[in-house]
Each structure stands twice: as C-alpha cells, then as structure tokens.
C-alpha cells in the first residue's frame, strides 16, 4: 500500500462528503448520545476503580451478541442480555475490589471464547462477524440505531436520578450507609446502567474498544478539573467530541470508524494530561512558596 492508496482510503470520499453525511446522520446521533452518557458514567467508573470491570462486561456483551447472531435473534438484545448478566455477576460477587478483579479475570476469557466460537459457527455475511469486536457503527441498521439511542437516553435519566447517592457511595460508602443511602441498591443500579451503556458501546465502537468512550474521556476530564459539575460536563463533552469527531473523520474515507474514535479520545487524554501536570507543578510551587513566607 503506497501513500496514494492511504490517502485514497482516508480521504477518498471527500468529494461526496455531503451525501455520505446524510446517509450516516443517524449514526452520528447515536455516537453523540453514547459519547455523552459514556463520559458521564465514566466519572463514576473512575471513582469506583472499575475500568477493568468495563472491559469484562464488554467481552460478555460481545459473547451475548455472538450467540444471538448464531441462533438468529436480535443482536442488540443479545449484547444487552450478555452485558446485564456480566454486570449483575460482577456487582453481586465483586463488592470488594480484589474479589472483583479476580472474578472479571475469570469471566472475560470465557466470554471472549464463547463469542469467538459462535462467530466461527456462524455462516452468514462475513462482514458482520468481527464488527462486534472492533465496531462498525455505519453498518448498524437504522432501526437498531433507534434502540441504541433510546437505551442511552434511559441510562442518562437513571444516572441523573441516582446521581447524588451514587456520588456519596463512590466517595465514602461507610458514611453514605450511615446516612441512610441504600448502598447495595445504588451499587447494583449503577452496575445495571453500566451494563446497558457497555452493550450500546459494543455496537458503536466494538467490544475491544469500549473503554475509549467509557473510561478515557472521564480520565481526561479528571486530569484538568476537580469540580463536581466541571468534571462530568467536561467528560461528556470529550465523549461527544471523540465519538462524533471519529465518525465524521472516518466517513471521509473507507477505513473503519473505531480507530478514529479511539485516536481522538486518546489525543484528548494526552492534551489533558499535559495541561494537568503543568497545573500540578504550578500548584506545588505556589503552595511551597506560601509555606516559605512565614519563616524568617
């Protein structure tokens, strides 16, 4: 592949960009809503130290989708079922971080194995096969896109309803329980919402890359801000920019969408990290000079 081929693959569709955009407008909307919800829920994923759980859920979601593909039922339903089962198991057995990581470590290869088995037994169109692992939003049918968008909206509402108790529980479960927060119920509700977001993300960006929309934007936001409003808002903005930006860049050519989304979200993270470490240095130097003042 020479440079001309690469340029053709990346920008070949530029002359018909307007027509392509009209075709993928539903995908752009789905990506935007997922980016928004993924960024928001990611803040809690980071605070509860559950990035690995996201990965584990996404592999079982992939398995559910692959099983659904093989037996001929709706793939989105299959991914949601797989995702919710994984989220429930992790939420139920993995209350403590150490237990959780070992349970995820056990579940994840099993889920991937089941999924790969089902995909190899599947005789249908080859194009659909690996899109579950690496994602191809533009090939998702518009009816399913409606479902995915609706699920994201549902998660958004659920997340806002439990927002304050969840924030309390994520920071200090003991104090939250002491003040009457039903911590077990809140944690379980969070796992179910996370399961739904991951199931949607599997279709849009692929099971292997879910974290680019559910972990990276929040991690980036937490590098540069610490306010209770600023972090979620910024994470949501980063998520939307990554998802929408990735799709808009990808449809200029013939390459898959996911690498664009992961790259955009990674670049945002790098920039935030650079800004964050600069800010840390400034804070440290000002606080050390402040303590130096009273000394004679």
């Amino acid at each position: 592949m020479n440079v001309a081929d690469i340029v053709q693959a990346m920008f070949g569709g530029l002359s018909q960009y307007g027509e392509i955009l009209a075709l993928v407008s539903n995908s752009v909307w789905a990506g935007a809503v997922l980016g928004l919800v993924g960024g928001l829920i990611g803040v809690f994923v980071m605070q509860r130290d559950m990035a690995f759980a996201v990965h584990g859920i996404s592999e079982l979601s992939f398995a559910g989708a692959a099983v659904a593909l093989l037996v001929g039922v709706d793939v989105v339903t299959g991914s949601i079922v797989g995702s919710l089962i994984a989220a429930a198991i992790i939420g139920w057995l993995g209350a403590r971080a150490r237990d959780r990581n070992s349970i995820i470590g056990v579940l994840m290869p099993f889920g991937l194995g089941i999924g790969i088995l089902c995909l190899s037994l599947y005789n249908g169109r080859a194009a659909g096969r690996f899109s579950l692992l690496t994602g191809q939003i533009v090939s998702v049918q518009s009816e399913q896109l409606g479902w995915l968008t609706g699920i994201c909206a549902l998660v958004l509402i659920g997340l806002l309803v439990i927002w304050r108790p969840l924030r309390f529980d994520s920071l200090d479960p003991q104090s939250a329980a002491a003040r009457g927060v039903p911590t077990v119920g809140v944690s379980f509700a969070f796992m179910l919402l996370l399961g739904l977001v991951v199931a949607v993300a599997v279709h849009i960006i692929g099971a292997l890359l879910v974290m680019a929309l559910v972990v990276t934007p929040a991690a980036a936001a937490m590098r540069v801000r610490s306010g209770p409003l600023a972090v979620p808002v910024l994470a949501a903005v980063f998520g939307v920019v990554s998802a929408v930006g990735g799709i808009l860049l990808a449809v200029m050519g013939t390459l898959p969408v996911s690498p664009y989304i992961t790259t955009v979200s990674f670049v945002i993270y790098l920039v935030c990290r650079a800004i964050g470490s600069r800010r840390d240095r400034i804070v440290r130097s000002t606080s050390s000079s402040a303590t130096a003042v009273p000394q004679p």
């Binding site: 304050r164 108790p165 104090s175 009457g180 590098r223 610490s226 306010g227």
Partner: protein, 280 residues
C-alpha cells in the same frame, strides 16, 4: 413543671440495653447497658478486634444485634442508617484525582442521600457555607478535595457529619494519622458540638488527645466491658481484671500509657515462636 422540650433535652441521646453481638461464634461483647446523656462524651476504648466499630455500626442500624436493644436520639434503631445521628468515619486520605472540591464533601452530608435529578434546593448552599464556617474550613473549601491535607479533609468530614445538627455524634478513630495541631482542632470541634447538648461517642485507641473532654469511658476487652470515669477505669487493677492478665497503667510525661494489654485476636491463640526451639 417541665415542658416537652425540656423532657426531650433530658432524655438520653443513646440508650443501650442488654446488647450483645456474636460474630463467627465469638462473642464480641454482651450484656451491654449504656446511656449517653445530652452533652455527655463517652469514649470507647479497647484493643483492636474488641468490637468498637461494630458497636457504632449497631447504633447506626448497619449491624444487627444478637441480643438487646438500641435507642438512638429517642427512637429504636430499626432501619439501616440514620440521618439524625452524625457519623465521622476513620480518616482515610482521598485519592488525588477525586472529582470534588473540599466544599462538596460537606455538600454530600446535606444532599448525598437524596434521589432524583440533582437540582440544588433553596437553602442548601447557605447550609453548606454555614457548616464550612463552623468547622473553620473556609480558607481551603474551594480547593480540590484530593489535594487537601489529612487534617483539612477531616475537618470537612466533621462538617459533613454535622449536616443535620445531629443530637448524637459517633466518631470512629477520628484522630488517626492526624498531626497534633489537627488532632486538637478535631477534638475541639467534637467538644464544641457536644456542648450544644448532643451526646458524643468517639471510638479511639489512644485516650490522651481526648482525655480532657471525656466524661466517661467504655472499655471493651476480652468479650467484656467496663464503664466509668477515666479515673475509675484507667487503673492497673481495673484493666488487669478486664483483660485477665496483668496490665499496667502509668503516667509518662503527662500521658497515660497502658502497658501489656494483649490484642483481642492475638490473645486468643498464643503459641511458642520458632526462636524458642532454636534456643534449645
């Protein structure tokens, strides 16, 4: 003649009757009777594993008693958690990237239990500011919570615990890993709150920082307990009797030290070390 308000002011903030807790077939303590009067401060002492934290959890309704009853702030404890009881957990440093400012730790005490869309209620902001003022955290309340020192975080946690002006304040090792100045600051905040007529029940492994403000001591050890003033409880005779082994209480440089008290767990299974065999 007493009005109802006077009667409620005189009623105990905490009333425990015949309480006991068994865990893994081991009796942590039993037959515990304790009244905490308004404005009274009862320190809970004892070796680790003696069930001090479990006692606090039972008062909050987070741990079921094997026997007996607990009444907190005039009401039997039934549900899990109680907003009328303040709870100050052990000081644990927050992760540096915690997406909250210092002020938000206090806000959690005010609205952290509320479900529904997170729209601030009228008066919440003023309440949070008043609490921050009360614990002297105004100068650092707007900095990121994860960058605050342990003492600053603990002051804000006191503010969180006092959100509903609780008539009973439980503290679990409130002074651990704080420097002397911050220990004094937190002790003063606890003392000031109980002077408003609230009962206070701090769990601590070191009595010295709170010795000046303690009314009585509940000493848990060995599945049993002793209750009394510091002078009554912290003596060689009483603690030796409680532990069942010789324990010495002495004053060193103005500090009370308890020497020879075994831990609850290690006392249960003593065995000869390998060095005994090597010496032969």
């Amino acid at each position: 003649m007493t009005s109802p308000a006077d009667a409620s002011a005189a009623a105990p903030r905490l009333r425990i009757r015949g309480a006991g807790i068994r865990r893994d077939d081991r009796e942590l303590w039993s037959g515990l009777d304790l009244d905490v009067a308004p404005g009274e401060l009862v320190a809970v002492l004892g070796p680790s594993g003696s069930g001090k934290t479990t006692l606090l959890r039972a008062i909050l309704g987070l741990q079921e008693l094997s026997e007996g009853t607990v009444e907190a702030v005039g009401q039997p404890v039934r549900r899990r958690g109680n907003r009328r009881v303040g709870y100050l957990p052990q000081a644990r440093p927050l992760p540096p990237e915690t997406p909250l400012r210092g002020r938000d730790l206090v806000t959690l005490g005010v609205d952290g239990h509320r479900f529904g869309f997170p729209i601030p209620r009228r008066g919440d902001r003023a309440r949070v500011s008043a609490l921050i003022e009360a614990v002297g955290a105004g100068s650092f309340a707007d900095r990121p919570a994860g960058t605050l020192s342990g003492g600053e975080q603990q002051r804000l946690r006191v503010g969180q615990a006092l959100a509903d002006d609780p008539r009973l304040l439980l503290c679990d090792e409130p002074l651990t890993s704080l420097d002397l100045a911050n220990q004094q600051a937190v002790v003063e905040l606890i003392d000031r709150h109980r002077r408003t007529g609230a009962g206070a029940l701090p769990v601590t492994h070191d009595i010295n920082p709170v010795l000046d403000i303690v009314d009585r001591i509940l000493y848990l050890a060995n599945g049993r307990f002793t209750l009394g003033t510091p002078r009554e409880v912290l003596t060689t005779r009483v603690l030796s009797d409680l532990y069942g082994v010789p324990v010495f209480v002495s004053e060193v440089g103005g500090r009370l030290v308890v020497v020879g008290a075994p831990d609850a767990e290690s006392a249960a299974h003593h065995h000869d070390g390998p060095e005994g065999e090597g010496a032969a």
